[in-house]
Amino acid sequence: MAKAKAKPTRAQQTSPAASSKFDLVGGLRDAAIAALIAFLLAIPLLSERTVQEAGGLVLENRWWLAFTAAVLVFAGRLALNLFEQSRRNAGDGLRAAISRNTAWLGDTSRFLAPGLLVFAVILPIFPFSDRYIMDLSVLVLTYVMLGWGLNIVVGLAGLLDLGYVAFYAVGAYAYAIIAVHYDLSFWVCMPIAGVMAAMWGIILGFPVLRLRGDYLAIVTLAFGEIIRIVLLNWTDLTNGPNGISGIPRPTLFGLEFKPFGENTFANFFGLDYSPLQRIVFLYYVILALALLTCAVTIRLRRLPIGRAWEALREDEIACRSLGINTTNTKLTAFAIGAMFGGIAGSFFATRQGFISPESFTFIESAIILAIVVLGGLGSQVGVAIAAVVLIGGFELFRELENYRMLIFGLAMVLIMVWRPRGLIATRMPSVFLKDAKTIGADLVGEGHR
């Protein structure tokens, strides 16, 4: 609250006397300036479109777009100004208002978790669960698992990893290559893929984990890109940009999900074959894997290593002073996060049956990171909800291919600005004296400013 007060808008700076009333003139002037800036921003990029024609590029004039942008910004800025002023008259700023009005998210999250779990378990028996819904649910759960995996690294240990997709890729390719070349089943390969990813996490992590937060972020980003480029160009092993196809599907204790054949699921239980059986099976596999990730995370938080992670996130120097080996602590977080990423990757490979380097671009890392950040760094339920909202939202706006990424980016900025600790921004400390107090994360500072 104090923060919002300490930063008066330009409207207020120009007329401090009017702080108790609506300052319409100041608000209008501020909105006009914002509109002018929006217009200047829109002039070349929005109002002129370059079009390829026979003789070369020509410009196509769309001045109305620039004016529309300016008008929209004017209206939006004015509304925001007036809203903030009325808020401030009532005693607090926009940020505090949003923080308060979304606080129920944190309160309900406690009851939300069991409810969500039950819903997830019985989802396939609902009548509306057709093939489309189940496919989407499998996708969402994959991201939930990835989010929980990355949450160990970013949310608990406080290490910003922008290359998480690299481990997802390592897991997927490890499974695909082993399964295609050595004809091993999914259940054998999945742990191998997890171990491979964890190994890469250690190899990549060991040299860089002593770096400061933002340097670490950039280096992990670079590693993510390196792995993608290697996958793209190491044609002998990965088949380059064409990817690997014909990846075997998972089986249920040797029972396959195929329309015909001896040893199929439908045959064994005397059912008619339906493609939905395979999807429901995949759904339960990824649900189990995601829950495993969650359970391991919750257990680890109670162990010394988990407590060390959280301590590290809050204050690295204090940790070092208390004798915690920060490099090893970070490395375990990195490796465990990578392992879950790799397992999710092997699931992705077996679900798709086909993988190519295109599935593992930086934007994928950004989406997973956004899930963790929007969910509230460190909150398990928050991450799950954020995954449902984000991936579900992506699916809803499927036709608006580019616009949805634009909105996604904007949402990332706005949520960070207005609710920097994510939607569910309460943290229950794992360690406490006498009674557990939920800390509103807005109140918690962070070690390294």
Binding site: L40, L41, I218, E225, V413
Partner: protein
């Protein structure tokens, strides 16, 4: 030898472009200690604005190339600066007091916004431009291999050197530069002594964006094709250059840019084109691990 010389020329040209972008990273990191992840996309926006302004000016009938380019340069610098300012105002200033990684996350968001905005507004196709500055000098010739120093390369390197000198002067001699260095040392103290910290930081972003616009124009003239995705890779490489030269140091950014440009060119020429990005990124990791303060940077003292 001729081949080597040619690659050297190409590498210096590429390095100049990286250096210009790297200055934006290094100034922002120096003053507020954050990686302006969206800076690479500001460079991309600058390239697009240059392209559009160029086409518009040609459309107006001004065809004398030096005048056209000068106009494009000035207009693109001005318009791109507004983008840089806006990004700072919207995404970074509200988070000045927040936890350290918050602005980095909004920066990634901004980068996604800029890329997709340009993609929507201008289309996803690559935008080709016919060569505007042609010709050059044949420096030497042997066995049919001619070493060419083209006019565009001369232009790029000269512009870079002039702008570098100009900006170094601004930093070292003007009151704005003094304010910037004061904010870099201690923001609170600077504000107590009457420096308008917010304004100084904004101006830093404006300067960085203006230089990125120049780099965008140079990229457009040199390669002749741009698309909405060029900012990502160029941004990481320029950041590598800034780190290599010592982050916070202007000459360091230029030196780093040159080294990265040379390494990338020689790697492509003698080893493999496919892995040239891997080379650049590996250098980033190696430098950060073994030489975190860079070539010309001050070693950072950690306060406990």
């Amino acid at each position: 030898m001729e081949y080597f010389l040619q690659q050297l020329i190409n590498g210096v040209t590429l390095g100049s472009i990286y250096g210009l972008i790297a200055i934006g990273y290094t100034m922002v990191y120096g003053i507020i200690g954050m990686i302006n992840f969206a800076h690479g996309d500001i460079f991309m926006v600058g390239a697009f604005i240059s392209l559009i302004v160029f086409l518009a000016i040609i459309g107006l009938g001004i065809t004398w190339i030096p005048l056209t380019l000068l106009l494009v340069l000035v207009i693109a610098m001005a318009l791109t600066s507004i983008w840089g300012w806006t990004v700072e105002r919207l995404a970074y200033r509200p988070l000045r007091e927040s936890f350290r990684l918050a602005p980095l996350i909004t920066a990634i968001g901004m980068s996604i916004v800029l890329q997709n905005f340009v993609q929507i507004a201008q289309g996803a196709r690559v935008k080709p431009l016919q060569p505007i500055i042609t010709g050059g000098y044949a420096l030497m010739e042997r066995d049919g291999f001619v070493v060419i120093l083209s006019n565009i390369q001369i232009l790029i390197v000269t512009t870079t050197v002039v702008l570098m000198a100009l900006f170094s002067l601004i930093i070292s001699k003007t009151s704005l530069g003094r304010a910037q260095r004061a904010c870099e040392q201690d923001r609170l103290m600077a504000s107590l002594l009457g420096v308008n910290v917010d304004r100084t930081i904004s101006l830093t972003f404006v300067m960085g964006a203006a230089l990125a616009a120049v780099a965008g124009l140079m990229y457009l003239l040199y390669y002749g094709v741009i698309d909405f995705y060029i900012g990502f890779i160029a941004g990481i490489k320029a950041f590598t250059a800034a780190v290599l030269g010592g982050i916070g140091s202007l000459p360091g950014a230029m030196l780093g840019g040159l080294i990265i440009g040379l390494i990338e060119t020689f790697w492509s020429a003698y080893f493999s084109v496919e892995y040239k990005d891997v080379a650049a990124f590996s250098i980033l990791a190696i430098v950060l691990i073994f030489l975190p303060s860079g070539l010309l940077g001050r070693p950072e003292v950690e306060k406990v």
